[in-house]
């Protein structure tokens, strides 16, 4: 969820930038866009969708996590010329590296879990096991390969349900998403960009739509 906040913040920043500088909205034309849902959907089934995640053995879930992140790596490579993608790629590679080196799941230390879920009844999580239905596996800090890349940072604001542990790779991915969306308000259309250039359609997506309606005589 914290990564979606970065997308929302970047979108807002891009819209505000376009509005303040009176520029049209533009978004880079991305290649192999289908790879993003192709990677997300299996992960959603494996880690979010309750009926499926109960049926999947851990080995298969780990395979899905690593395999889909390789798909995303191909997506990043195909779009490496776009702004922000080198950050997205760096964060992805860091996460993929620590996941691949620790059995196919993102490692998290017992100390971090204790701070993440201080009210968890004894026995609800165990060292060496996956943490609930997440992508994380609880491993002793000393046994984690590249521990500094693991989920070691905590955001504890709000209720216990909103607590989240995240990695340095997640932070870099969030920065990359923000950087890409900041481009929405950047000057001038590039060769690979799609501009929303029209006198009335600056800044607001709503105005773009209503502008189109006027064009069709509504």
């Amino acid at each position: 969820m914290i990564l979606l906040y970065a997308v929302l913040a970047g979108l807002l920043a891009g819209l505000v930038r376009a509005g303040l500088t009176r520029r049209s909205l533009r978004f880079p034309g991305l290649r192999l866009l289908w790879l993003a849902p192709a990677a997300y959907l299996p992960q959603h089934l494996a880690f979010q969708f309750s009926p499926a995640r109960r049926l999947l053995p851990d080995d298969l879930a780990a395979f899905i996590l690593v395999g889909t992140q390789l798909l995303l790596l191909a997506f990043v490579w195909a779009n490496r010329q776009q702004p922000g993608f080198w950050l997205l790629g760096l964060g992805l590679v860091l996460n993929l590296l620590v996941i691949a080196l620790n059995g196919g799941f993102m490692p998290i230390s017992p100390e971090t879990v204790a701070r993440l879920a201080p009210d968890a009844p004894p026995g609800t999580w165990q060292v060496g096991e996956r943490l609930g239905s997440t992508k994380d596996i609880v491993l002793p800090a000393a046994d984690i390969r590249f521990e500094w890349l693991s989920d070691r940072f905590l955001m504890t604001a709000g209720t216990s349900a909103n607590r989240v542990a995240f990695s340095i790779g997640d932070v870099i991915i969030a920065l990359g998403a923000f950087r890409l969306l900041w481009m929405l308000g950047s000057p001038g259309p590039g060769r690979t960009s799609e501009s929303f250039q029209s006198p009335e359609s600056r800044f607001s997506l709503g105005s773009l739509h209503s502008n189109r309606e006027r064009e069709y005589g509504d």
């Binding site: 969820m1 914290i2 990564l3 979606l4 970065a6 997308v7 979108l11 909205l25 978004f27 991305l30 866009l33 993003a36 849902p37 990677a39 997300y40 992960q43 996590l65 889909t68 992140q69 995303l72 997205l88 964060g91 996460n95 996941i99 993102m106 879990v113 993440l116 879920a117 009210d119 968890a120 009844p121 996956r130 943490l131 609930g132 239905s133 997440t134 992508k135 989920d151 216990s160 349900a161 607590r163 989240v164 542990a165 995240f166 990695s167 790779g169 997640d170 991915i173 998403a177 890409l180 969306l181 929303f196 997506l205 773009l208 739509h209 502008n211 189109r212 309606e213 069709y216 509504d218």
Partner: protein, 47 residues
């Protein structure tokens, strides 16, 4: 029935394809960050 199909086609034709592509790109980016990132929530533990 044909009237409804025609109405639906006209309604869809009014939507700017650039707007649709922008929405698709944003949704895909959201999917990318969710799949690429691995922030660990409690996953039902302790809630």
């Amino acid at each position: 029935m044909q009237h409804y199909i025609l109405s639906a086609k006209l309604s869809l034709a009014k939507i700017d394809p650039r707007y649709v592509r922008l929405i698709i790109a944003l949704v895909s980016l959201a999917m990318f960050v969710l799949a690429a990132g691995a922030p660990g929530a409690t996953g039902g533990v302790g809630n």
